[in-house]
């Protein structure tokens, strides 16, 4: 009896020490789950999810504080990817956060109207607007994520969201028409 208790106690002590050492030695810096979630999010930094950027939303999802269906720019693709990563059930986009955009857009400043107030520059989450006080501003198209955060602050309403023109090198083959019959077995 006593020997068994001693043996188990000794084992427990040894494993405890090993585990305790391992937690210190192999400590993971940061939050790996939040990183993974952040990698899936589209990085528009638009704040439509209710968090100030993609990273805070990713942290909220990782902490189970937020649902996975609050990202309109990501749409269905992001929801499905998050559902698979977190092993949750996919659900439709939360309408409170907005609607998924049909096409990608970029901000364009009407340079004739711009008064150079810099308010849009302060609003842009990715520093994609170029300009200085009382100088005309312009959007760097290739850097613009289409988040629309620059539109409301503009006092003269000179920023428009323009759909990105389709380019033949980035063109996608359309999804073929599905057969009409419904008897097809689903995989």
């Amino acid at each position: 009896m006593l020997s068994a208790i001693l043996a188990l106690g000794a084992l427990a002590a040894v494993f405890g020490i090993v585990l305790g050492y391992a937690t210190i030695r192999f400590k993971v810096e940061g939050d790996p789950l939040a990183d993974k979630v952040d990698a899936i999010l589209p990085q528009t930094q638009c704040g439509q999810c209710g968090y100030p950027g993609c990273r805070p939303y990713a942290e909220a999802i990782a902490d189970n504080r937020a649902d996975i269906n609050q990202c309109p720019p990501g749409g269905e693709t992001v929801i499905l990817a998050l559902a698979e990563l977190l092993d949750r059930d996919p659900k439709p986009l939360n309408a409170e956060n907005g609607v998924a955009k049909e096409e990608t857009t970029v901000a364009v400043i009407d340079e004739q109207v711009c008064i150079g107030c810099t308010l849009c520059i302060q609003a842009c989450p990715v520093d994609a607007i170029l300009g200085a006080a009382k100088q005309m501003h312009t959007v760097i198209e290739s850097e613009c994520t289409g988040c629309e955060l620059c539109v409301p602050p503009c006092p003269v309403d000179c920023i428009a969201m323009i759909p990105v023109k389709e380019h033949y090198l980035t063109w996608k083959w359309p999804f073929p028409d599905m057969p009409k019959t419904t008897t097809e077995p689903e995989k």
């Binding site: 999010l41 589209p42 063109w171 083959w173 057969p179």
Partner: protein, 525 residues
Amino acid sequence: MKRRRLWKFHGGVHLPQQKTISTTMPVHAAQLPKRLVLPLHQHIGASAKAVVEVGDNVLKGELIAHASGYVSAPIHAPSSGTVVAIADHPIPHPSGLHAPCIVIETDGEERWVEARPYDDYLHMDPSHLRNLVREAGIVGLGGAGFPSYIKLNPGADKVIDTLILNGAECEPFITCDDMLMREQPEQIVEGLHILQHALRAKRCIIALEDNKPEAYTALSAAVAKSERCNIIEIVQIPTIFPAGGEKQLIKVLTGKEVPHDGLPLHIGLVIQNVATCAAIHRAINLGQPLISRYVTITGGGVSQPRNLEVLIGTPIQELLEQCGALDIEPQRLIMGGPMMGIAVHTSSAPIIKTSNCVIAATDDDLPSPQPVMPCIRCGACADACPALLLPQQLYWYARAKNLERIQEINLFDCIECGCCSHVCPSHIPLVQYFRFAKTEIWSQEREKERADLARQRHDSRLERIEREKAERAARLQKKKQALKERSAGDSSKKAAIAAAVKRAQEKKARQQTKEPSANEEDSSQ
């Protein structure tokens, strides 16, 4: 001569050839069009960059756009004239979208730039030879349009055992390589010598399907006349689609398989199209860049289907007119063959370097797609697939948009030959699904890159804001410090004043003590 052993590749289909309709007439040059439209992107890789401006006069063969990057090719003016526009124009592309093109209005004089032939290529360094091929703007003319000079650069340690010339031309309707082999076999053999020299290849094989006996005879005669005929072998292979696919042809000729993530180079082979080979001959021996090619104009929509030698940039419309375009509606235009070709949305689109054939198709040529039925899992597609894939499984994943799993079962090994769609008893457009999946995957990769860039920019913005905040705080701190110091300085002055006052008072007190008693009350004040 000993008959060469041939192998078989998996799958493939036998198709009605439809080739004889366009081989009855000899090839001659197409009429010079009024306008030539040259897309800046005619090859795999980066688009060329225009070096001419609107209003410039150009000579035939003059460089008008230079290659930008390693995988790219320059473009030359196919005829003399004036650059009238550098703007978006319809191109032969399945999207029907427009792309930047250089438009040249021809002057009809066909004045050449000074040609610089190099007849002494045997004493030329292979790297120099490669550069000449690059400068001539030569890309694979079989359809893919891969810049040819890259294939001529196997690396110093690679030994090229066999150089294969691909004259299989396995798709129905297309006969441009057949006619080239019949009419210009000397050019092909000359080009082959240049390639052999550049690659130091031990042996050369010219491979063509056994449905081209005239080409075989012509090539045999040309090879017999050439001085190094002992290393050149002409091989006729059985006619089965897609025997002209690079990996399939290699399998048939050598029994070897090109590794899934490798190139023919890795198993000691280099494979070039016969038309590319003739273009290399013209570039080196005649000093002419790639400005024209043989194009088959065929199908029920034209009264005289034939092959023409066409300047790159000639609008399809003009070629159709020269071959007697009939007014058959609806006329579908296909560039390439019926299996792998693409629909052209407008006949104003030009012939580009990779355009081998234009089919003005009637319903007799290409029946309209039949109604799609559910998959019955018969497996005929897998039997027909020359890339040894499982088209049915790929189809399910593509339908479910499961883009991860579809890559695991090697979607990107699909050569889009269309055998699976052809044999499918349910008429499922399988290749359409695979094309969709491929472009969707590329698009998601681009999205990912964009997202990463946005994240990086957002992070650096936050960092910047943080830094500015810290800097402002530091400035404020400094100011406070300065103010404090100043006020501290003030207090020392005050102290000095106070001390002075004290001293004065003490002095006064001392004086008062010397003058006794009367003023004692005053001093205490």
